[in-house]
Symmetry: C2
Subunit: 383 residues, 2 copies
Amino acid sequence: MTVTAPQGFRASGVAAGLKPSGKPDVALVVNDGPSDVAAAVFTTNRCKANPVLWSEQVMADRRAKAVVLNSGGANCYTGPTGFQTTHASAELVAQRLGFGAIDVVVCSTGLIGEELDRDKLTAGIEKAVTELSTRGGAAAAEAIMTTDTRSKQTVREGDGYTIGGMAKGAGMLAPALATMLVVVTTDAAIDSETADRALRAATRVTFDRLDSDGCMSTNDTVLLMCSGASGKTPDADEFTALLTEVCHDLAQQLLGDAEGSEHDIAIQVVNAATEDDALAVGRAIARSNLFKTAVYGKDPNWGRILAAVGTTEAAFEPSELDVAFNGVWICRGGAPGEPRDAVDLSGREVTVTVDLKAGQQSATIWTNDLTKAYVHENSAYST
Amino acid sequence: MTVTAPQGFRASGVAAGLKPSGKPDVALVVNDGPSDVAAAVFTTNRCKANPVLWSEQVMADRRAKAVVLNSGGANCYTGPTGFQTTHASAELVAQRLGFGAIDVVVCSTGLIGEELDRDKLTAGIEKAVTELSTRGGAAAAEAIMTTDTRSKQTVREGDGYTIGGMAKGAGMLAPALATMLVVVTTDAAIDSETADRALRAATRVTFDRLDSDGCMSTNDTVLLMCSGASGKTPDADEFTALLTEVCHDLAQQLLGDAEGSEHDIAIQVVNAATEDDALAVGRAIARSNLFKTAVYGKDPNWGRILAAVGTTEAAFEPSELDVAFNGVWICRGGAPGEPRDAVDLSGREVTVTVDLKAGQQSATIWTNDLTKAYVHENSAYST
C-alpha cells in the first residue's frame, strides 16, 4: 500500500523511454479532493534544479492538485530550455485534468546537466494520465526509481484517516534532505497551516538527519498532499506523530538501500549541551571518510570518531569523551576503555554512541559506510 | 638534501621496533645554534594527541633545540600514561644533549588510541642520539613515514642561507593542516617574531589548502627551526617567499602520495567576492565524494561541482557559474557549455576552474580523487 492508500488519490507509473533501460520513468499522483491542501520542503542547495524552481512557485499558496515526477533525467542545470520543459509538463497535466498549471508540482531525478527529451516526456505524461487509478501507487513508486534497487513505500492508519508515502533515493543522501523525492498523501482533513507545520516537524527529525554521503542534492522534494476525503480532522500533534512515523519509515528504507552500502549506521550523540551541538557532532562523524571506511572494514575505530568530534565547536572536554560501538564502551574518558574485540560489526546495523557529558540533549544522525562498491557505482556511471 | 642541508643541524633516523615491519621509526633533529629560534603551527583539532599538547607548551617561548619524532604510534587518546611517555621522550633527549626538556618538541604518528611502547621508544631515542650526524636528514625523513610510499624532502637556497624540509603524510590530509608532520630547518639568522609570521604566512597558502580526504588530524605539526649558523639575516618578505616555496613543494609531495589516489586535483576558484568565499567553495568541492569518485572515473562531472558550490554561502548567481576541466569550459552560465568529451582526464594532474563572477579574489585548494584503493587502504588497516 502506498500513496493511493488514502481516499481521494489516483496514481500511475509508465515507461516513457527517458531511461535507456526502458523501465518505468514517469509517475503521476492526483489529489481528487475535496481539499487540495499541500505542504512541501525542498533542497536548501542554492543551485536548484528547474523542477524545484517551478514547484517552489506552485507551493507558494500551499495548494496542489497533482504532482508529476520523472526519473531518467534531473532537468538540473539545463538553463531556460529546461525550465520550459518543466513548465510544459505542468501545463499538460493541468490541461488534461482540468485545472491550472500552477496547481501541479513537478519533480525530476536522474542525470544532472543533460537536457530532458521533451517529446518523450510529453508522450509519457499523456499515457500516465490515461492510466491513473486508485490502485496505481505501486506503479508510481516504481517509476521514480533511479539507482534504487527497490521501491520505497509505506502506509500508516490513523484514527479514521490514512497516510501513505513513496520515496526514491540512493545516493546524494545528505543533510537538509537527501537526493530524494518523497510524496506523502493523506485523506485527513487538515488546514494548510497544520500540514506545513506537521511536515516540517516530521522532516526535521527524519529526512534531515539522514546523511548517507554528505552530498546535498539539487532536486530534493518532500511533498505532502491532503485530500480531506476521510472527513476526519485529527488532532495536530497526533497527525504530526503519525506523519513522522511515515517519514521515518521511508528514511530508513532510503538508508537501507544507499548506493553500495554494507552498513546502516545510527550515530547517537547524547548528553550534549544543546540539540544543535548533538547534530553538529553527529554530522561531523557521518562525514568522516576515515570513520566510514573503518566501519566497512568492521573496525570499531573510535580514534577516527574523536578526531571528527574534535573538528566541531560543540561543548565538551576531550578527556571526558566516551564512545560505544553497539553498546560496548571501547573509549572512556578520551582513552581506551573496553577491549575493541568485544565489538561485533558483522551485522548490517551499527549503533555508535558518543557521550559528550556536557548537558541533557541528544540527537541521532543516520549514515552508511563508505565501500568500494560506492566508489565503483559513482565513478563508473554519471549520475 | 633535507633538514641537514642548512648549517647547524644534525639528524638521525633509527629502527626502534615500534613498527611491526622493523623499518626505521624514530627520528631526531637537533639545532646546534647559535640561535634556537623556532616557530610552529599545530592541528586545530580540539581532540589533540599527547605530543601536540606537550609541544604547544614547548613552543610557548618560540624556542626549540630539538625535535624527536616517532612513527609506529600516534600516542593519541592514550590518556595521562601517554602524556607521560611524551614527556619522558623529551626528558631523555634533553638529558643526553645537555639542555632542558622544555626545549624539545615531540611528534608522533601512526595508530590512534593505542599506547606507545615506552621501553622501545626510549631505546630508540638512545640510539638516535648516538647516530646524530650533519648528513642524517634523509634517514630522519625515512623514519617518520607511515603509509607514505616515499619520503618527502626538499631544499631551497636563499641569498647566503638555506632552508631544508621533510614531511610525512598520506591520509587524514585536511584543512587547517593535514595528518602531517613537517620539520623545516634554516640557518638564516632571524628573530622569533619573523619566524612565526613567515611560517604562518607560508602554511596558510600551502598546507592549509591541502584537503585530500576532508579528515582533520590529531597530530599535525609544522615546525620551523632556525640555527642562525649562516650569520645571514634575510629580508623578511624574501625569507617568507622562499619558505613558502619549501612548504609548497612538500605539500605537493604529500598530495602526490595521498593514500590510494590516482589524480592530483587543483580546484581554482576565481572571481570570488572575497578570498574566504573562494576557499569555502574550493573546500566544498574538495569534500564532495561524488565529485571525487567522478574524477577517479575520469568523468568531468560538472553537475556534481555545481551541487557542491550550491551548499556554500559564497556570493554568486547559480545561472552565471562557469566550470572548466583542464581549461575546457564544459559548463557556461550554469548549463552545458563545450562538449564534455573534449576533456581528457587520463593524466594524474587535473585542474578544475570555477568562475563565480562575483569579484576579483581567487584561491586554490588541492585534493585527490576518491578511489577503491583509498577505501581498501582505510578499511583493511587501522590507522
